[in-house]
Protein backbone atom coordinates (compact mmCIF):
# COMPACT_ATOMS: atom_id res chain seq x y z
CA UNK A 1 0.00 0.00 0.00
CA UNK A 2 1.29 3.46 -0.90
CA UNK A 3 0.84 6.70 1.09
CA UNK A 4 -2.07 8.17 -0.91
CA UNK A 5 -4.10 4.92 -0.67
CA UNK A 6 -3.41 4.74 3.06
CA UNK A 7 -4.51 8.37 3.58
CA UNK A 8 -7.61 7.75 1.50
CA UNK A 9 -8.64 4.92 3.81
CA UNK A 10 -7.84 6.71 7.07
CA UNK A 11 -11.41 7.97 7.61
CA UNK A 12 -12.90 4.50 7.24
CA UNK A 13 -10.08 3.21 9.42
CA UNK A 14 -11.14 5.62 12.18
CA UNK A 15 -14.81 4.79 11.74
CA UNK A 16 -14.02 1.08 11.92
CA UNK A 17 -15.78 0.46 8.63
CA UNK A 18 -12.71 -0.84 6.78
CA UNK A 19 -12.60 -4.47 5.68
CA UNK A 20 -10.27 -6.76 7.63
CA UNK A 21 -7.84 -7.07 4.68
CA UNK A 22 -7.61 -3.31 4.16
CA UNK A 23 -7.27 -2.69 7.89
CA UNK A 24 -4.26 -5.05 8.03
CA UNK A 25 -2.71 -3.28 5.02
CA UNK A 26 -3.24 0.16 6.63
CA UNK A 27 -1.78 -1.14 9.91
CA UNK A 28 1.29 -2.45 8.09
CA UNK A 29 1.75 0.80 6.20
CA UNK A 30 1.42 2.91 9.36
CA UNK A 31 4.03 0.75 11.07
CA UNK A 32 6.45 1.26 8.18
CA UNK A 33 5.78 4.88 7.04
CA UNK A 34 6.76 7.64 9.46
CA UNK A 35 4.94 10.42 7.54
CA UNK A 36 1.64 8.53 7.43
CA UNK A 37 2.02 7.50 11.08
CA UNK A 38 2.49 11.17 12.01
CA UNK A 39 -0.54 12.12 9.94
CA UNK A 40 -2.53 9.36 11.61
CA UNK A 41 -1.46 10.55 15.06
CA UNK A 42 -2.45 14.14 14.24
CA UNK A 43 -5.76 13.10 12.80
CA UNK A 44 -6.50 10.90 15.80
CA UNK A 45 -6.11 13.98 18.02
CA UNK A 46 -8.55 15.85 15.77
CA UNK A 47 -11.03 12.99 16.07
CA UNK A 48 -10.50 12.91 19.84
CA UNK A 49 -11.13 16.65 20.21
CA UNK A 50 -14.25 16.48 18.06
CA UNK A 51 -15.54 13.45 19.98
CA UNK A 52 -14.97 15.18 23.31
CA UNK A 53 -16.92 18.24 22.16
CA UNK A 54 -19.58 16.02 20.66
CA UNK A 55 -20.06 14.13 23.93
CA UNK A 56 -20.59 17.37 25.88
CA UNK A 57 -24.18 17.58 27.04
CA UNK A 58 -26.20 20.76 27.14
CA UNK A 59 -27.46 22.47 30.28
CA UNK A 60 -30.03 20.12 31.89
CA UNK A 61 -32.37 23.08 32.43
CA UNK A 62 -32.08 24.36 28.87
CA UNK A 63 -35.50 23.03 27.81
CA UNK A 64 -37.12 24.66 30.85
CA UNK A 65 -35.28 27.90 30.13
CA UNK A 66 -36.49 27.95 26.53
CA UNK A 67 -40.08 27.08 27.49
CA UNK A 68 -40.22 29.81 30.13
CA UNK A 69 -38.92 32.36 27.61
CA UNK A 70 -41.53 31.27 25.08
CA UNK A 71 -44.29 31.46 27.71
CA UNK A 72 -43.13 34.94 28.69
CA UNK A 73 -43.14 36.02 25.04
CA UNK A 74 -46.64 34.66 24.56
CA UNK A 75 -47.89 36.33 27.74
CA UNK A 76 -46.53 39.67 26.51
CA UNK A 77 -48.10 39.12 23.10
CA UNK A 78 -51.58 38.57 24.55
CA UNK A 79 -51.34 41.00 27.46
CA UNK A 80 -52.89 44.05 25.66
CA UNK A 81 -56.00 42.03 24.75
CA UNK A 82 -56.69 41.17 28.39
CA UNK A 83 -55.89 44.52 29.99
CA UNK A 84 -58.16 47.35 28.85
CA UNK A 85 -55.99 50.00 30.49
CA UNK A 86 -52.99 48.94 28.38
CA UNK A 87 -54.82 49.45 25.05
CA UNK A 88 -53.47 52.58 23.32
CA UNK A 89 -56.99 54.06 22.96
CA UNK A 90 -57.67 53.81 26.67
CA UNK A 91 -54.39 55.26 27.80
CA UNK A 92 -55.38 58.98 27.42
CA UNK A 93 -58.73 58.24 29.09
CA UNK A 94 -56.92 56.63 32.00
CA UNK A 95 -54.58 59.61 32.34
CA UNK A 96 -57.47 62.12 32.25
CA UNK A 97 -59.38 60.07 34.83
CA UNK A 98 -56.40 59.94 37.19
CA UNK A 99 -55.79 63.71 36.83
CA UNK A 100 -59.53 64.38 37.46
CA UNK A 101 -59.54 62.26 40.60
CA UNK A 102 -56.38 64.00 41.82
CA UNK A 103 -57.94 67.47 41.29
CA UNK A 104 -61.23 66.49 43.00
CA UNK A 105 -59.34 65.06 45.92
CA UNK A 106 -57.31 68.25 46.17
CA UNK A 107 -60.44 70.42 46.17
CA UNK A 108 -62.10 68.20 48.81
CA UNK A 109 -59.10 68.30 51.08
CA UNK A 110 -58.81 72.04 50.54
CA UNK A 111 -62.41 72.56 51.64
CA UNK A 112 -61.93 70.47 54.74
CA UNK A 113 -59.14 72.73 55.84
CA UNK A 114 -60.06 75.34 58.41
CA UNK A 115 -57.53 77.92 59.47
CA UNK A 116 -56.68 77.62 63.12
CA UNK A 117 -58.33 80.42 65.12
CA UNK A 118 -55.82 81.64 67.56
CA UNK A 119 -57.29 82.76 70.87
CA UNK A 120 -55.08 85.41 72.26
CA UNK A 121 -54.09 84.74 75.82
CA UNK A 122 -54.78 87.57 78.32
CA UNK A 123 -51.91 89.91 78.73
CA UNK A 124 -49.80 89.78 81.88
CA UNK A 125 -51.30 93.13 83.14
CA UNK A 126 -54.77 91.64 83.05
CA UNK A 127 -53.63 88.51 84.91
CA UNK A 128 -52.51 90.59 87.87
CA UNK A 129 -55.81 92.48 88.16
CA UNK A 130 -57.49 91.72 91.45
CA UNK A 131 -61.23 91.43 90.88
CA UNK A 132 -61.91 91.91 94.58
CA UNK A 133 -60.69 95.45 94.43
CA UNK A 134 -63.10 96.33 91.65
CA UNK A 135 -66.10 98.08 92.95
CA UNK A 136 -69.00 95.64 93.47
CA UNK A 137 -72.02 96.13 91.25
CA UNK A 138 -74.23 96.30 94.31
CA UNK A 139 -72.59 99.63 95.10
CA UNK A 140 -74.16 101.09 92.00
CA UNK A 141 -77.47 99.35 92.66
CA UNK A 142 -77.66 101.00 96.08
CA UNK A 143 -77.36 104.33 94.44
Amino acid sequence: MNCSTCQKHLDAYFDGTLSVDLKIQVDDHLAACKACAELYARWSVVEQVMNEEKSTSSNPFLATRIMSQLEEMQAKKYAPAHSIAKRPVFRPVTVVFIVGVAISLGVLLGNLYRPLQVRHAPSTELLYLDDATIEPIAFYDAK
Binding site: D11, V45, V49, I66, M67
Partner: protein, 194 residues
Protein backbone atom coordinates in the same frame (compact mmCIF):
# COMPACT_ATOMS: atom_id res chain seq x y z
CA UNK B 1 -47.00 12.06 17.90
CA UNK B 2 -44.97 12.84 14.81
CA UNK B 3 -43.18 16.15 14.32
CA UNK B 4 -45.79 17.42 11.86
CA UNK B 5 -48.67 16.48 14.19
CA UNK B 6 -46.94 18.30 17.03
CA UNK B 7 -46.40 21.34 14.82
CA UNK B 8 -50.12 21.45 13.92
CA UNK B 9 -51.04 21.32 17.61
CA UNK B 10 -48.52 24.01 18.52
CA UNK B 11 -49.75 26.27 15.73
CA UNK B 12 -53.31 25.90 17.01
CA UNK B 13 -52.15 27.34 20.34
CA UNK B 14 -50.86 24.42 22.41
CA UNK B 15 -47.50 25.87 23.38
CA UNK B 16 -46.83 23.15 25.98
CA UNK B 17 -46.35 20.59 23.19
CA UNK B 18 -43.35 22.56 21.92
CA UNK B 19 -41.45 20.99 24.81
CA UNK B 20 -41.77 17.57 23.19
CA UNK B 21 -40.37 18.93 19.94
CA UNK B 22 -37.62 20.63 21.91
CA UNK B 23 -36.60 17.51 23.82
CA UNK B 24 -36.62 15.47 20.62
CA UNK B 25 -34.17 17.70 18.74
CA UNK B 26 -32.28 19.59 21.46
CA UNK B 27 -29.23 17.30 21.56
CA UNK B 28 -28.65 17.43 17.79
CA UNK B 29 -29.02 21.21 17.63
CA UNK B 30 -26.65 21.58 20.58
CA UNK B 31 -24.05 19.34 18.88
CA UNK B 32 -24.27 21.41 15.69
CA UNK B 33 -23.79 24.63 17.65
CA UNK B 34 -20.86 23.34 19.69
CA UNK B 35 -19.15 22.24 16.48
CA UNK B 36 -19.05 25.88 15.43
CA UNK B 37 -18.42 27.68 18.71
CA UNK B 38 -16.43 25.10 20.79
CA UNK B 39 -17.89 26.50 24.00
CA UNK B 40 -20.62 24.92 26.11
CA UNK B 41 -22.11 28.23 27.27
CA UNK B 42 -22.20 29.72 23.78
CA UNK B 43 -23.69 26.50 22.40
CA UNK B 44 -26.40 26.59 25.10
CA UNK B 45 -27.26 30.19 24.21
CA UNK B 46 -27.26 29.43 20.50
CA UNK B 47 -29.50 26.39 20.99
CA UNK B 48 -31.92 28.61 22.87
CA UNK B 49 -31.90 31.20 20.06
CA UNK B 50 -32.42 28.46 17.45
CA UNK B 51 -35.53 27.11 19.18
CA UNK B 52 -36.96 30.58 19.81
CA UNK B 53 -36.51 31.41 16.13
CA UNK B 54 -37.96 28.04 15.15
CA UNK B 55 -41.05 28.72 17.28
CA UNK B 56 -41.47 32.22 15.88
CA UNK B 57 -41.25 31.03 12.27
CA UNK B 58 -43.06 27.72 12.77
CA UNK B 59 -45.98 28.97 10.67
CA UNK B 60 -43.62 29.41 7.72
CA UNK B 61 -42.56 25.74 7.87
CA UNK B 62 -44.25 24.26 4.83
CA UNK B 63 -43.33 20.66 5.47
CA UNK B 64 -41.48 20.27 2.14
CA UNK B 65 -38.54 18.85 4.05
CA UNK B 66 -38.17 17.07 7.38
CA UNK B 67 -38.61 19.33 10.42
CA UNK B 68 -35.12 18.31 11.59
CA UNK B 69 -33.59 19.45 8.26
CA UNK B 70 -35.35 22.81 8.60
CA UNK B 71 -34.14 23.09 12.20
CA UNK B 72 -30.55 22.23 11.19
CA UNK B 73 -30.65 25.03 8.62
CA UNK B 74 -31.65 27.51 11.33
CA UNK B 75 -28.92 26.12 13.63
CA UNK B 76 -26.26 26.39 10.90
CA UNK B 77 -27.28 29.95 9.95
CA UNK B 78 -27.41 31.09 13.56
CA UNK B 79 -24.02 29.52 14.31
CA UNK B 80 -22.42 31.07 11.24
CA UNK B 81 -23.83 34.48 12.19
CA UNK B 82 -22.47 34.04 15.69
CA UNK B 83 -19.02 33.11 14.33
CA UNK B 84 -19.05 36.13 11.97
CA UNK B 85 -20.02 38.46 14.81
CA UNK B 86 -17.29 37.01 17.01
CA UNK B 87 -14.73 37.65 14.29
CA UNK B 88 -15.79 41.30 14.21
CA UNK B 89 -15.24 41.67 17.93
CA UNK B 90 -12.58 43.96 19.26
CA UNK B 91 -9.25 42.66 20.50
CA UNK B 92 -10.39 42.99 24.12
CA UNK B 93 -13.47 40.91 23.55
CA UNK B 94 -11.38 38.31 21.78
CA UNK B 95 -9.06 38.13 24.74
CA UNK B 96 -12.05 37.64 27.00
CA UNK B 97 -13.46 34.82 24.88
CA UNK B 98 -10.00 33.23 24.80
CA UNK B 99 -10.01 32.98 28.59
CA UNK B 100 -13.61 31.76 28.63
CA UNK B 101 -12.68 29.07 26.14
CA UNK B 102 -9.89 27.96 28.39
CA UNK B 103 -12.41 27.43 31.16
CA UNK B 104 -14.58 25.43 28.77
CA UNK B 105 -11.64 23.30 27.77
CA UNK B 106 -11.24 22.27 31.38
CA UNK B 107 -14.92 21.46 31.53
CA UNK B 108 -14.92 19.41 28.32
CA UNK B 109 -12.10 17.06 28.97
CA UNK B 110 -12.85 14.71 31.80
CA UNK B 111 -9.80 12.68 30.72
CA UNK B 112 -7.70 15.83 31.02
CA UNK B 113 -8.54 15.98 34.72
CA UNK B 114 -6.67 12.73 35.20
CA UNK B 115 -3.62 14.05 33.35
CA UNK B 116 -0.76 15.80 35.06
CA UNK B 117 -0.47 19.59 34.51
CA UNK B 118 2.16 19.20 31.76
CA UNK B 119 0.05 16.68 29.83
CA UNK B 120 -2.99 18.87 30.36
CA UNK B 121 -1.10 21.88 28.99
CA UNK B 122 -0.08 19.93 25.87
CA UNK B 123 -3.65 18.63 25.52
CA UNK B 124 -5.04 22.18 25.73
CA UNK B 125 -2.43 23.49 23.28
CA UNK B 126 -3.37 20.77 20.81
CA UNK B 127 -7.02 21.53 21.29
CA UNK B 128 -6.41 25.20 20.63
CA UNK B 129 -4.56 24.33 17.43
CA UNK B 130 -7.28 22.00 16.23
CA UNK B 131 -10.15 24.38 16.94
CA UNK B 132 -8.18 27.18 15.24
CA UNK B 133 -7.69 24.99 12.17
CA UNK B 134 -11.40 24.07 12.18
CA UNK B 135 -12.39 27.73 12.49
CA UNK B 136 -10.15 28.65 9.55
CA UNK B 137 -12.02 26.34 7.17
CA UNK B 138 -14.13 28.04 4.48
CA UNK B 139 -17.78 28.27 5.59
CA UNK B 140 -19.25 25.57 3.35
CA UNK B 141 -16.47 23.11 4.14
CA UNK B 142 -16.89 23.86 7.81
CA UNK B 143 -20.64 23.28 7.74
CA UNK B 144 -20.19 19.96 5.92
CA UNK B 145 -17.51 18.93 8.39
CA UNK B 146 -19.57 19.82 11.49
CA UNK B 147 -22.71 18.09 10.22
CA UNK B 148 -20.70 15.03 9.29
CA UNK B 149 -18.49 14.72 12.36
CA UNK B 150 -20.63 16.20 15.14
CA UNK B 151 -24.09 15.16 13.99
CA UNK B 152 -23.08 11.92 12.24
CA UNK B 153 -25.16 12.93 9.25
CA UNK B 154 -24.93 11.04 5.98
CA UNK B 155 -23.84 12.89 2.84
CA UNK B 156 -27.44 12.77 1.65
CA UNK B 157 -28.74 14.43 4.83
CA UNK B 158 -26.02 17.09 4.63
CA UNK B 159 -26.96 17.69 0.99
CA UNK B 160 -30.58 18.27 2.09
CA UNK B 161 -29.55 20.80 4.73
CA UNK B 162 -27.23 22.64 2.35
CA UNK B 163 -29.62 22.36 -0.62
CA UNK B 164 -26.97 20.77 -2.77
CA UNK B 165 -26.03 17.40 -4.24
CA UNK B 166 -24.37 14.44 -2.50
CA UNK B 167 -21.42 14.75 -4.87
CA UNK B 168 -20.90 18.37 -3.86
CA UNK B 169 -20.97 17.37 -0.19
CA UNK B 170 -18.41 14.63 -0.79
CA UNK B 171 -16.15 17.13 -2.54
CA UNK B 172 -16.62 19.62 0.31
CA UNK B 173 -15.70 17.01 2.92
CA UNK B 174 -12.62 15.91 0.98
CA UNK B 175 -11.43 19.49 0.56
CA UNK B 176 -12.13 20.19 4.23
CA UNK B 177 -9.97 17.25 5.30
CA UNK B 178 -7.13 18.24 2.97
CA UNK B 179 -7.27 21.87 4.18
CA UNK B 180 -7.41 20.73 7.80
CA UNK B 181 -4.42 18.40 7.41
CA UNK B 182 -2.37 21.14 5.73
CA UNK B 183 -3.29 23.74 8.35
CA UNK B 184 -2.59 21.34 11.19
CA UNK B 185 0.79 20.39 9.73
CA UNK B 186 1.73 24.10 9.57
CA UNK B 187 0.45 24.74 13.10
CA UNK B 188 2.33 21.71 14.49
CA UNK B 189 5.58 22.83 12.85
CA UNK B 190 5.14 26.33 14.28
CA UNK B 191 4.34 24.82 17.70
CA UNK B 192 7.46 22.61 17.62
CA UNK B 193 9.67 25.59 16.73
CA UNK B 194 8.45 27.54 19.83
Amino acid sequence: MTDSELIQEILSGNLALFRQLLERHQAQVFRTCIGFVHSKEDADDLTQEVFIQAYQSLASFKGDSEFSTWLYRIAVNRSLNHVRERQKKSIFDRLDSFFTREKDVQFFSDSAMEENPEQQFIHNEEREMITKALDKLPEKQRVAMVLSKYDDMSQREIANVLNTTEGAVEALLQRAKITLRKDLAQLYHRYKRQ
